[in-house]
């Protein structure tokens, strides 16, 4: 997309945000509203003017939101309040909301850090599937090396903002990655969280 995000402002920044889907560690759903409305919020960037309530969105978008919920396997929860869901379900709704903005690339910041192993697997499955179906690059930061090895097809190790590892996942063993962590343990003793494994599924960048 070739733009400097940090210096973009106003309309331009909004356009950049629309093109990048972002999945948060803490989901960021509005608890008191329904899942459908949370997903619809993802379409706000395409709409003009503020919206309140499911009815204020066009019918076509409501159908689209239903479809996105279906993709993450939660269409049955469409009219459930978001704060009644489990953590894993909330994250899937959040992914559906990101899909609703039709992003060109998706970034997920520790999307499974507060989830149990089974929900984590479901969330990563969904991220993998949408990247294949929508021909979209998905970049996921993870601390769990096994998860990265299991789902990603390219693994990048970062320390202090520098790339210390960049390999195809199929040529990589657990030990190689753990090595990165081990080295970090020696060099950093202030407990700073400065290493992450970025696991991306590469489809050709547009």
């Amino acid at each position: 997309m070739g733009k400097q995000v940090s210096s973009a402002s106003g309309r331009e920044l909004k356009k950049v945000r629309r093109e990048i889907g972002f999945v948060f560690q803490q989901f960021g759903l509005v608890g008191r509203t329904t899942c459908l409305e949370n997903v619809l919020n993802g379409a706000l960037g395409r709409l003009r003017g503020p919206r309140y309530g499911v009815r204020s969105y066009p019918k076509k978008l409501r159908t689209e939101a239903f479809d996105q919920l279906e993709r993450v396997g939660l269409a049955n929860q469409a009219y459930q309040r978001a704060d009644t869901l489990s953590g894993g379900q909330m994250q899937r709704v959040a992914i559906a909301r990101s899909l609703m903005q039709r992003p060109k690339i998706m970034l997920a910041d520790e999307p499974v850090a507060s989830l149990d192993p089974e929900s984590s697997a479901q969330v990563l499955d969904i991220l993998l599937r949408v990247s294949v179906e929508d021909h979209m690059t998905v970049v996921v930061t993870l601390h769990q090396v096994e998860l990265a090895l299991g789902w990603a097809n390219r693994i990048v190790g970062l320390r202090d903002g520098k790339v210390v590892l960049d390999r195809d996942a199929s040529t990589l063993k657990q030990d190689d990655v753990m090595d990165v962590y081990r080295r970090v343990d020696k060099t950093l003793d202030d407990g700073r969280d400065s290493i992450s494994v970025a696991a991306s599924r590469v489809q050709p960048m547009p």
Partner: protein, 564 residues
């Protein structure tokens, strides 16, 4: 605190250890001593002795006997003006909510467009809070004319103080992740506010508005004292004509209205905020059945891919309440006796009547101004202390988790609700009629109102204490009283102290208007200045009230910060 404080304690086992004091506790002690000194001075200033108080009560008892049996031949007029009172409260509260929403978004730290806008909005909200509605009503009645209109304007502007403040706090308390998440999808600022912040503040905002409607109904019942419409004018003229049997019948009509609406509003607020604390097993089973029905409706809606929300219980409730509100507003606006002024003319009048307060004139009535302000402050202090004294036992009696006998709790709560149904200014008028002009009847009236309000706050604060420490103290064999003193009181105290300071600030404002009915303080000078069109003296009085109320508010928030 560092370990340095603790070290000597460990070394010298023979000496009794003492808790080290930090500067916080010294500041609090200073404030406490200062408040006690102010109280003693106040007591002496208004010359309140036990004999005047008890003599006063026998005078009041005599007057109450004059009121019976009530004569109800003024019932149609009392009903008509009571309904007018309700419409005034409804329209006034609506006006305040409409004005408060933009102000609150401009005043909240997380949505304000600019720090300067934020400071100005906060200033407007504080100013609105500091000027009593009755004062505004008296000022507006002299500029836009007698009738409900000045009353509505007064309620609408004064209520911004509370509604705007609570809305602002609600906006600031919303969580930020969902806002960031929706912003990250490329939504605009106001789209994001509506999608993420508004749903979060909705229940508390409705609760706040309903609560204010309650307060405004009480308030609008006495606005007629200064010619601003409602039942107050009828009560006022009957009391002035010494027609006590008819006055009490008018009071009882508004009393029934206030009590009924408070009961409805409490129920509604509990439903909206979702208070299931007091749910009985029968209610719980009904709740379960309702949830099951809702689930079924949702299931049907989803399997048929319906694109609108199904009519769950919650939605039906919301639509019913919303529809009823709209209907009432339409009836209110259609039937209330208001001159059809253009908004332009009205705005002009308001700006003019506020503009006439400037520049404030402190010199013409200098000595009355000083005496009146001192007396108002003194009344506020004594009434708060006296009210607290009565409120402590009553408050304990209303706490369900402390008093085991349900009957005692129910009776005390019922009695408090009964007394709260009569606005304090009506108490003041009756007491003044019985005891003659002066600060003592005003103080007593204010003390009674304070007691009923504080008792409720104390009861609520006690009910919020955690159970675990109490169980711990009971487990080591403490008696009920010991358990109360060492496990309940320390938990409730910080909350109670800040409530007490809030009460003091409310009472200083209330005591500023007591003089309008002859109950002492600055109010007498205020109403005569308004009637005599000495608008610049009015400006000076309003300014002084604002300064005192604002000072107490600052003190209150300072103490809250330290105690918390």
């Amino acid at each position: 605190m560092s370990g340095a404080h603790l070290e000597p304690l460990i070394k010298s086992r023979t000496a009794l250890p003492r808790a080290p004091k930090n500067w916080h506790s010294w500041v609090l002690i200073t404030i406490f001593v200062g408040l006690i000194a102010a109280l003693v001075w106040s007591w002496l200033f208004i010359d309140m002795t036990l004999s005047t108080v008890f003599g006063g009560f026998s005078d009041i008892w005599n007057l109450i006997q004059y009121m019976f049996p009530p004569i109800f031949d003024n019932f149609p007029e009392a009903l008509r003006t009571t309904i007018e009172t309700i419409w005034m409260a409804l329209i006034g509260t609506t006006m305040a909510v409409v004005l408060s929403v933009p102000l609150a978004f401009m005043a909240a730290r997380n949505t304000s467009p600019h720090p300067v806008v934020m400071a100005i909005s906060r200033g407007i909200i504080s100013l609105a809070r500091a000027i009593p509605a009755l004062v505004l009503a008296a000022i507006f009645a002299s500029s836009v004319g007698i009738g409900p209109l000045p009353g509505i304007l007064a309620l609408g502007l004064h209520s911004i103080g509370m509604i705007g403040k609570l809305f602002t706090e609600a906006i600031e308390n919303t969580e930020a992740t969902s806002r960031d998440a929706v912003l990250s999808t490329g939504a605009g600022k106001w789209q994001t506010v509506l999608a993420t912040i508004v749903p979060q503040i909705m229940p508390s905002s409705i609760g706040t508005s309903l609560y204010r409607l309650d307060i405004n109904l009480r308030e609008s019942a006495v606005l007629g004292f200064v010619g601003a419409g409602g039942v107050g004018f009828l009560i006022w003229s009957e009391l002035r004509g010494l027609d006590y049997q008819r006055a009490i019948s008018a009071v009882s009509v508004i009393f029934v209205a206030i009590t009924l609406i408070e009961l409805i509003s409490v129920r509604l607020r509990a439903t909206i905020i979702g208070d299931h604390l007091s749910a009985t097993p029968k209610q719980t089973s009904r709740l379960r059945a309702r949830v099951a029905r809702d689930q079924k409706k949702i299931y049907v809606a989803i399997s048929s891919r319906q694109l609108t929300l199904p009519w769950t219980h919650e939605r039906v409730l919301q639509a019913t309440v919303g529809g009823t509100y709209l209907l009432l507003m339409i009836v209110a606006l259609a039937t209330i006796d208001m001159p059809l002024l253009s908004a332009y003319k009205l705005g002009d009048d308001l700006v003019l009547s506020i503009g006439r307060l400037f520049p404030p004139d402190f010199t013409t009535a200098r000595s009355e101004l000083i005496k009146g302000m001192l007396e108002t402050t003194a009344i506020g202090f004594v009434a708060t202390a006296l009210g607290l004294l009565i409120a402590i036992p009553l408050g304990i009696l209303t706490a369900r988790n402390i008093i085991i006998r349900r009957l005692v709790v129910t009776l005390t709560r019922g009695m408090l609700l009964f007394i709260r149904g009569i606005p304090e200014l009506i108490f003041a008028v009756i007491f003044v009629s019985a005891m003659g002009l002066g600060p003592v009847p005003g103080t007593l009236a204010l003390a009674i109102a304070t007691a009923t309000f504080m008792a409720k706050l104390i009861g609520d604060a006690l009910e919020e204490v955690q159970q675990a420490p109490r169980d711990g103290v009971s487990a080591v064999g403490a008696s009920r009283l010991q358990e109360f003193i060492s496990a309940v009181l320390p938990q409730a105290l910080p909350n109670l102290v800040s409530q007490l300071l809030y009460m003091l600030d409310v009472n200083l404002r209330s005591s500023a208007v007591l003089g309008i009915v002859g109950g002492g303080g600055i109010g007498f000078l205020l109403i005569s200045a308004i009637r005599g069109f000495e608008t610049e003296t009015v400006g000076a009085i309003v300014f002084l009230i604002f300064v005192i109320v604002y000072a107490i508010e600052l003190l209150g928030s300072f103490v809250r910060r330290i105690v918390a």
